[in-house]
């Protein structure tokens, strides 16, 4: 009986629930539409390439141990991941140019007119690249709004790095062996840093976008609006002083209801039932 009464209240004030849920649903739909239209908001694509950083040996002048090489390689790999090299404007412009050169392989993999996104924007590329290091191996991860773009960028990073690593890591290496002839004769060796691709750019995989949890939040928002609408319906009904039922009357006045008269029905248009004189 109570449940039926609650149901009657909700039904009577259903317009409140519809209004609240409707307004919030419109807002949620608008927000979702924006997310849907924003590239990378709901889903994004990931590709990565792994590089090994090393040092060429110095030939006859070399008096370094293996450990020196390993240590120097790790230091250079660390510089590649921590210094702003991969996210530098110069590097990212080089990646963009490399992608233009790679169009043949990109078309071969993703078909004609692949959607690469704005790969010629160095700032966008800088925001899409992250890197990690294990010993002398650097894994560069690319998160991009299109699968072709993610793969193309990772591939281009591998190519640019292997071809031009020495220009980005152009640290001077001091030939400490020259100390035998005194500090004044110490010479600086030309950069001998090398990079090789350990694993090629991986196929693009879908990962959740930056706003992937927003649709769920919007759904929760609509559910909360529904609950608020129900609560408002009860509140409005509670504040409404009007008599609604025979139970209301009998409880209020403690007298019986002798009869209930329905609303006045409309007269038939042909007037066949009209028996009283016209007013």
């Amino acid at each position: 009986m109570e449940l039926r009464a609650y149901g009657a209240i909700i039904w009577r004030r259903i317009w409140v629930v519809i209004l609240v849920v409707g307004v919030v649903s419109l807002y949620a739909a608008y927000q979702y539409y924006h997310l849907y239209k924003t590239p990378g908001a709901l889903k994004t694509y990931h590709s990565e390439v792994t590089l090994a950083i090393g040092i060429q040996n110095f030939g006859s002048q070399d008096n370094h141990s293996f450990n020196d090489y390993v240590s120097a390689s790790e230091t250079l790999a660390d510089a590649l991941t921590t210094d702003p090299i991969l996210t530098s404007n110069r590097f990212d412009r080089a990646v963009g140019q490399q992608i233009s050169s790679d169009m043949g392989s990109i078309v071969q993999r993703y078909g004609p007119n692949p959607d690469l996104g704005n790969v010629q924007d160095p700032a966008a590329l800088a925001g899409a690249i992250t890197s990690t290091r294990i010993h002398n191996q650097v894994t560069v991860s690319v998160t991009w709004t299109t699968p072709a773009g993610a793969w193309a960028i990772a591939k281009a990073i591998g190519e640019v790095t292997t071809a031009h690593i020495s220009s980005y890591l152009n640290y001077g290496l001091m030939n400490t062996s020259a100390y035998v002839s005194g500090p004044s004769s110490k010479s600086v060796l030309q950069p001998v840093v090398s990079a090789t691709v350990v694993s090629d750019a991986s196929p693009s995989t879908v990962i959740p976008g930056a706003s992937a949890n927003r649709p769920a939040l919007l759904l929760v928002l609509v559910l909360v609006a529904f609950i608020i609408g129900i609560a408002l319906a009860f509140l409005i009904d509670y504040l409404d002083d009007r008599i609604r039922s025979t139970e209301d009357v009998e409880q209020l006045l403690q007298v019986p209801v002798y009869g209930q008269v329905p609303r006045v029905p409309s007269l038939r248009s042909n007037g066949t039932t009209r028996r009283s004189p016209a007013a």
């Binding site: 002083d241 009007r242 008599i243 006045l253 007298v255 008269v261």
Partner: protein, 226 residues
Amino acid sequence: MSIPSQEQVTLLTDYDAGSPYNIAYQTLYANIRFNWDSERIKQQTLLITTPVATPRQSEVVANVAIVAAQSGTPTIVIDANFRAPSLQQRFSQGESKGLSDLLTGNVPQPQAIGSYLCATFVPGLRLLYTGKAPIQTPNPLLSENLRDVIAGLRQFLAETETKPSLVIFNSPPVLAGLEASAISSLVEQTFLTIIRGRTTRTHAKQAQEQLQRAHAKLAGVILLDL
């Protein structure tokens, strides 16, 4: 009276006898009839009023009276709603003498009261309209003179009718003035018309308290859908 009403009273006779609207009034009258000990009270007097002005007040009075008359009960409807008289217009009787003439003058003999009553197109139903004499509301003499009018009507019915008969008052709203309270103190039963979804609890309770102060016998409620 000179106050015309724009209200259009819906009469039961406009509808089929088997319509839900008609049946609702038949049920209402049956319940009123069950509560009427006609062996003890041959001339029953009722007041049907409302807490605040509603467009359907006169409709309820007219239709209960029509059902009563159609059921074979000689019925007189007294339109005591001087603020918004409406029954005269609906029963298309034109201006005639009525309650105000009885209240402002000397109450005539019971036989002469019959000349104030107007027959209607419903057999067994007569009306005492608001009348032509101007009346100030609230009239301090209303209650006293009205007592004599009611007594005269009872006497008239007792002399002219063999069956138990019914007198139904139509009054202004309880909270609009003293008329309803004054009449309620003189009739056997009072019914409060409440419109579902429109009449507030506050008004209904205030009307009941007002009627109680007048020592009215509030028999029950008539609930209307709007």
